[in-house]
Amino acid sequence: MRQGVNGGPLLEVWDLVKDYVTRDAKLRRHVARAVDGISFDVWPGETFAIVGESGSGKSTVGRVLLKLTGATGGTVTLLGKDILGLSEKQFRGSRRHIQMVFQDPLAAFDPRATIRASLREFAEFGGDRNRSRQDEAIDESVRSVGLTPEIVNRRPSQVSGGQLQRLSVARSLLVAPRLLFLDEPTSSLDVSIRGQIVNLLTTLQETEGLSYLLVAHDLRVVYAMAHRVAVMYLGQFVEVGTKDQVYEQAHHPYTRGLLEAAALDDPPRSGQAVRLSGEISSEQVRSTGCRLINRCPFSETRCQEPQSLRPTESGQLVRCWKAVEMPVSIGLG
């Protein structure tokens, strides 16, 4: 397995904040905070997963890391280099270390270009201007995702969703990245195809030592792929731990609500089921206390105070005073 810098993490994110600023017809500023001070790291050969419902801000995190959108605050260190302050030109050297696989493979390919043309852009990124060598590299990477190279002569609409998602993976591999940001890589695919992509990604991680930042709402896929999991709600992490800690000893009521709703058969869980009421509302971002307060069955006055991520007895970090101080009161243990 390849190492990060001096045996440390590949990617370190510290207190990342992202605001979206919009202006209405009267040019008044509206600020929506999509990511609100999150910190994590990703180690070589590791899959770090962020789970959450839509509106949690989980996809924004990856887009900031790839500098597809700017950050509002915090630091991001990729292979020892602080990347947030870099210009596009300065970032170019680092860009090849971090690549992305999109949710909808059909949207991720130019509908008018052949797949080969889309792949060639990534082959060119290596700096090799020799077309036949580019073609060799394209063929090789297409074979590495289990397809025959002839397929690249077609257009995106002429191949199936599962094949196109494999090609999307092949495309990002052409620049030999260290870290792949997987943005809901299976959610536009059929159930019977989902496993094919998951297994491909797992195999690639084993053979190439790739790291993944996986963003998904499908808890089965996350269970299959992740080493560590962060649960995100309205811009904040509410629970961070190893896969087993999060799936088998979930502490935060939101995590437990998600697991209950997902109706997983395999992972055993401790504690009683949590039923969340209502739905996610960006209004809650402004509150200083727990953002789940209006949906949580255990909420009380003290939940209006600011909550910080604190370690539990079983070792994961949880943003809920009750889960840390009195787990029995919320049906744990």
Binding site: L68, R95, M100, P111, R112, S157, Q158, R171, S172
Partner: protein
Amino acid sequence: MTSRAATRETPTRSRLGRVVRVTFRTPAYLSMAIIALVALVGPFLVRDPLGFLGGTLAAPSVEFWFGTDQFGRDIFARVVHAARLDLWVGLIAAALAVVVGMPLGALGAYRGGVSDALLLRVSESFQAFPTLLLALGIVAALGPSIPILIMVIAMVNVPVYLRLTRSAVKPLVDSDFVLAARCAGKSQAAILRRHILPNVSEIVFAQFSVNVAWAIQILAALSFVGLGVKLPTAEWGAMVRDGINYMYYGQWWISLFPGLAILATVLTLNYLSDEIRHGS
């Protein structure tokens, strides 16, 4: 499913065969082909459009299909010659408008912010004037000549392309395949050229066809009020104006045939635009 079927090429059919099939599939393409043919080779086959051929104000006959005008010129020959002029002016003016408006609109949409707002405001202030009045004013100030006419017609059409391209590009800027190109380290210019402009070209070409029609109308209108091409050049609008006084005395053919030519060309170009947009 349908998109899959639509993009699949049948390898046995040649490119030329495809062009021929498309041409004959719809009246719009066929009619456009006829008009283009008339404009291209017609002038070599008909009489001199400026020559005085005797009998003035002759009604349509076997010899003079569209009759003759007050100077005894063959109206059929003049309509055919004018086709070449009107189509050229329309094409060049619309093409100029595309060449200027499309990159500006794409740039505005892609960059956003101040430059986008500025471009938008400028084009809006252009569009605040009625197109024809604006064109009239400028031509009146600069004096009529064919290059100036082309410039003016192009200029009043630039905002159309600017805004059209801008609105077509806007959703593409945040599309996943453009983000993917950014992940591949492509520059903004390369992304515009390779991914964005090809994906908006269909919309722009549909508009192009309408705009050629529009340019021809503006040219005809300017000539009709005497600010267009100089006499005795054959131009449809000028010819309509020439004959308008004779309408009262029953010599309807002088204005009617160039008028019909304008109508047929404008309708054809508009249908063609629909075809480009919905067909293919």
